[in-house]
């Protein structure tokens, strides 16, 4: 069992090697002649205006937070699934899992009801915030 992880480690090293070799090897052959226009950000031949590392929209942050919570939930669901059938009472096991997921899902439902899951905020929603 433990040795299987050695295999993963070996695989990781081999993988890194396989990824790096073409990158490094190619450097020997490639031409290199940069000039000013080539070094500009690609914006379909328009001169770029302003910085590109803009601030993210708030919605991405909300999505990421909900994701973290559900990721944690799923991690706990897999061990539960693993022992579900060997539980002395499957009914109790099911209820235990259900209570857990339902509570977490209340969060999703709350977000949903409050409109935080709407990617395009509707006009109505905006009005509600302004009021």
């Amino acid at each position: 069992m433990y040795l299987d992880y050695h295999a993963v480690l070996v695989f990781l090293i081999t993988g890194a090697f396989m990824v790096c070799t073409p990158l490094v090897l190619g450097m020997l052959f490639r031409p290199k002649n940069p000039y000013k226009e080539k070094n500009l950000p690609y914006e379909c031949a328009e001169d770029p205006i302003g910085d590109a590392q803009i601030r993210f929209d708030m919605r991405f942050y909300t999505t990421a937070l909900i994701f973290v919570v559900f990721d944690a939930e799923i991690v706990l669901m897999f061990p539960w699934a693993r022992v579900f059938q060997s539980a002395p009472s499957k009914g109790v096991a099911l209820v235990a899992g259900l209570v857990f997921t339902t509570i977490v899902f209340f969060g999703l439902i709350y977000d949903w009801a409050k409109g935080d899951l709407d990617w395009v905020k509707s006009f109505q929603n905006k009005r509600r915030v302004q009021d």
Partner: protein
């Protein structure tokens, strides 16, 4: 697995040699298949649009991937002046590595017997197999978000941000959809999932809801049409890899196709019975010995290729989603359905068991 499996303690040199051989062979098979699937993509799309497709290099264009690879080697590798150098160079490698590492836990066929030793046809048969897959593939998002950020250019930035939001959202559905499978297999090990399907029914039939959700999520995770918003060429030029050229661009490209192969393999393992052939049982495979291994191996790759074809087929059939539609589909439709599926599985299993 009833057979005694070769371990390090039995014969260290043989064990190491076998493992290294497996790693080299499997990664090369997959990388060559990814390269060929690029060609297949162009050929199939050409057929679907009544064109010829690439047909100049080699007979029927079969050497096109090799020509592409050579070109990637000899083209100038532009590192624009406005980028964050270190992350810009690292991002392609970060994007490709997770897809490659996941290959370590995919079972390619039934165990092989060499010189009286049993060698499992999987590089690392972990008992947390599926969680390993999710853990490593969840790291794939960094390559894309960092490529977008390090490029310091508007299109890559938008593509990277979109891609990360899309990938993390669908990762949840991916995980939740397969919980039902592991409730019935009672093991998180991928080989156990297959052996339970070889003797029983494929999960495609016993877990149809999970199958549909998993397939949709797989398309979203690999940024393929109809969910290719991160690189939507009509609006974002090429998304997160707009500023990349030469071998670095190739890394993203190979990464995408390797990820496609990984998800095809996962669909095959989780839902299509892995190396199973209809009407064959585990005992049949064992009785056939190494021929059984070969048959299983072929059957597995046929399933993978069929799903890769499905990927391409869908690409030329379904138009792109809008980003809000994508998010709504994920959080408001697939998420509740996946949960209902888990509950249904629980109820059915409890009812059958008692």
């Amino acid at each position: 697995m009833s057979l005694a499996v070769l371990t390090f303690a039995d014969d260290p040199i043989f064990y190491l040699a076998a493992n290294l051989a497996k790693i080299v062979v499997f990664t090369h098979i997959v990388l060559i298949l990814s390269a060929l699937s690029v060609l297949a993509e162009r050929k199939v799309s050409a057929w679907m649009q009544d064109r010829l497709g690439p047909n100049r290099v080699g007979p029927g264009g079969i050497l096109q991937p090799a020509a592409d690879a050579l070109k990637f080697f000899f083209k100038e590798d532009i590192v624009p002046g406005h980028v964050d150098k270190v992350l810009y160079i690292l991002a392609p490698a970060i994007a490709l590595m997770p897809a490659l590492i996941v290959l370590a836990v995919i079972p390619y066929g039934p165990p092989l017997t060499v010189l009286g030793e049993t060698i499992p046809m999987v590089i690392a048969d972990l008992d947390i197999g599926i969680l390993f897959v999710f853990a490593i593939s969840s790291l794939g998002v960094y390559g894309i978000v960092l490529a977008g950020w390090a490029s310091n250019s508007k299109y890559p930035m938008l593509g990277g941000v979109r891609a990360s939001a899309q990938m993390i959202s669908y990762e949840v559905m991916l995980g939740l959809s397969v919980v039902g499978i592991f409730m019935s297999t009672e093991s998180l090990r991928l080989t156990d999932v297959i052996t339970s399907q070889v003797d029983g029914t494929w999960f495609m039939f016993s877990q149809p809801i999970a199958f549909i959700i998993f397939v949709i999520a797989a398309f979203a995770e690999t940024n393929r049409l109809p969910f290719d918003l991160p690189e939507a060429e009509t609006e974002l030029v090429a998304g997160y890899h707009t500023e990349y050229s030469s071998m670095k661009f190739a890394m993203f490209f190979i990464g995408e196709y390797t990820a496609m192969f990984v998800f095809s393999a996962l669909v095959a393992v989780l839902f299509l019975g892995g190396w199973d052939i209809p009407f064959m049982s585990n005992a049949d495979f064992e009785a056939l010995g190494n021929w059984g291994t070969l048959l299983g191996f072929l059957s597995f790759f046929v399933k993978c290729l069929a799903f890769l074809f499905f990927y391409i087929w869908v690409r030329w059939t379904i138009p792109r989603f809008r980003f809000d539609q994508l998010m709504n589909l994920g959080w408001k439709v697939l998420m509740p359905i996946a949960l209902v599926n888990v509950v249904l599985t629980g109820v059915v299993l409890g009812w059958l068991g008692s």
